[in-house]
């Protein structure tokens, strides 16, 4: 923006204002989130959650939990993608994620084995969605191979496609793609990185 200010220093009159104070900003943002939600304008609400596998981004539509993202996915980029794919009406609004955050906390503390959350699968399409639907049936502490998952979804030759579906899982941890490993018993890749997969499987083995 080309802002040419007057040479007489009139702009200095407002220099004494300083920055808007943080309390006012927090108050206004909380009010905007609440009013947007009440008006049906909060298409996507999000918050972050600190966890043993790093900072997780949680995002939800009015329908349900839409996205869980690891830090390595770059949260800003994830939100930009959601803006394009779902809606740009996105606000940091933790209230809608209260239940998801609590259940994830309980899971990481070893006190929860299944998630009781409504999920919005709109970010997964076609076969990938079929794979995610099957993954939810792999129980806590259980593991299946990519080949077993492919067979279970009716496409035994689609082993690589199963790997791709896991790598693009929009709801990791909650939809347990970490429970899918290689046929030889090695862990294979993971959307959250190999270390995160190890942490989750160790957590579930110990409980």
């Amino acid at each position: 923006m080309n802002t040419t200010l007057e040479p007489n220093g009139a702009d200095h009159m407002f220099d004494t204002l300083g920055p808007v104070d943080d309390a006012a900003q927090r108050r206004l943002r909380a009010r905007l989130a609440a009013e947007a939600n009440a008006a049906g304008l909060l298409d996507v609400a999000y918050r972050t959650l600190d966890s043993p596998v790093g900072k997780l981004l949680l995002a939800a539509t009015e329908r349900g939990l839409l996205r869980v993202a690891y830090a390595r996915a770059d949260h800003d980029r994830v939100l930009a993608d959601i803006a394009g794919a779902v809606s740009p009406r996105i606000l940091a609004a933790p209230a809608r994620l209260d239940v998801a955050a609590r259940e994830l906390d309980e899971y990481f503390a070893g006190r929860r084995k299944t998630f009781d959350l409504v999920l919005d699968f709109q970010l997964a399409k076609g076969f990938r969605r079929d794979v995610l639907a099957h993954l939810s049936a792999i129980g806590y502490g259980q593991m299946e191979s990519y080949a077993q998952v492919a067979a279970a979804t009716g496409r035994p030759n689609a082993v690589r496609a199963v790997g791709s579906a896991c790598a693009h899982n929009p709801l990791p941890v909650v939809v347990p793609c970490h429970r899918v490993i290689r046929s030889d018993g090695s862990f294979g890749g993971y959307v959250g990185g190999a270390e995160a997969k190890q942490i989750l499987l160790s957590l579930e083995a110990a409980a």
Partner: protein, 175 residues
């Protein structure tokens, strides 16, 4: 300003690149609050800010991607301020009628109250042009689009406003 979105495929593609509204709030929220404080006073500013951003959120998916977002927000804030002034007035008061009349009363109290009181004492048009140019940083061409009239008239109104403020509000001016 609410723009209707056309469902032309090319525009849809541009819409795909729109950033999350949260980023708009982060980048422009503080400046819009300053504008609201200057134009409607510190007491009513938070209501005006909330109404502005809620209206902006509603219209956001239809905003043209090449728009000046700050000018768009200031335009919405300007309209909310006019609505608020009309609601408070005993009779409906068009902005044009109010332009050259002094404000009814100064804004009472509040943080940085001297500056806000000095601004409140200005005729609305001077107060608006000062706020949109000096606080929002809009060039006079944009100020004129928001507040009406020509860019040159906006420049004169802001200059008159600054001259009046110099007489009533001296804090922060070392020379």
């Amino acid at each position: 300003m609410v723009r209707t979105s056309h469902s032309v495929p090319a525009l849809r593609l541009l819409d795909m690149r729109r950033e999350p509204f949260e980023a708009i709030v982060t980048r422009h929220g503080p400046t819009v609050l300053r504008v609201c404080q200057a134009v409607v006073g510190p007491e009513a500013a938070e209501d005006a800010w909330s109404e502005t951003f809620l209206a902006a959120l509603r219209a956001y998916p239809g905003l043209r991607p090449d728009s000046n977002v700050e000018a768009w927000l200031v335009t919405i804030a300007h309209r909310k301020a006019i609505d608020q002034a009309r609601a408070e007035s005993r009779r409906p008061l068009a902005l044009d009628e109010a332009r050259d009349a002094p404000s009814r009363e100064p804004v009472p109290g509040g943080w940085e109250s001297e500056l806000w009181a000095a601004l409140a004492a200005l005729p609305p048009r001077q107060r608006q042009t000062v706020a949109y140019h000096y606080l929002a940083g809009l060039p006079y061409a944009e100020v004129a689009k928001v507040a009406g009239g020509t860019p040159e008239a906006a420049r004169r109104a802001a200059a008159d406003g600054i001259a009046a403020l110099r007489k009533t509000y001296r804090q922060g001016e070392s020379q």
